[in-house]
Amino acid sequence: GAGVSQSPSNKVTEKGKDVELRCDPISGHTALYWYRQSLGQGLEFLIYFQGNSAPDKSGLPSDRFSAERTGGSVSTLTIQRTQQEDSAVYLCASSFSEKLFFGSGTQLSVL
């Protein structure tokens, strides 16, 4: 089957605009993660969804960031009023066990 799909693969936006990033996990995977990776850095945890449980939002850097997961499948990460420091690769991963399967990420550039 298909792997984790993220869209768009690249997004260029102007400072102050809102953006939505989408993640389609592997079918049947109950866990979904969002990470952020700045240039040359490690992965920064943002948010975690598991089934119907309340998500762990502890990694979201500010209230401009939000995420939802509809029907236990597709997830959308929304960044409101984007800032230049939001520029990074946003990675989504899904899992049904202990190892994560990653999408190819969305490269976000805020001008």
């Binding site: 975690y48 502890s58 990675l91 991963a93 990653f102």
Partner: protein, 113 residues
Amino acid sequence: SQQGEEDPQALSIQEGENATMNCSYKTSINNLQWYRQNSGRGLVHLILIRSNEREKHSGRLRVTLDTSKKSSSLLITASRAADTASYFCATRYSGGSNYKLTFGKGTLLTVNP
């Protein structure tokens, strides 16, 4: 920070040589995983070692875990140019939020032909 830390940050070797990368972490873990990333995009899982294991092999990969020193190493034998990538260790902690996988900053491996 609970992040694992890889060492070295960058490693350059010749094809055919072995590459060793190290990872240190701070608190008790359930398991430690190694991932590979090409060109700054998606990561690919390589190998998982549990806290009660000391060594694991997968093809040309060998991972060791020393829980007393809170460290792990990844050895790639007989390296190839195609092994050029960033390698990350990731730890799943045994405490509260044990679903989280916490990543280090990675080691950039360059294998020269």
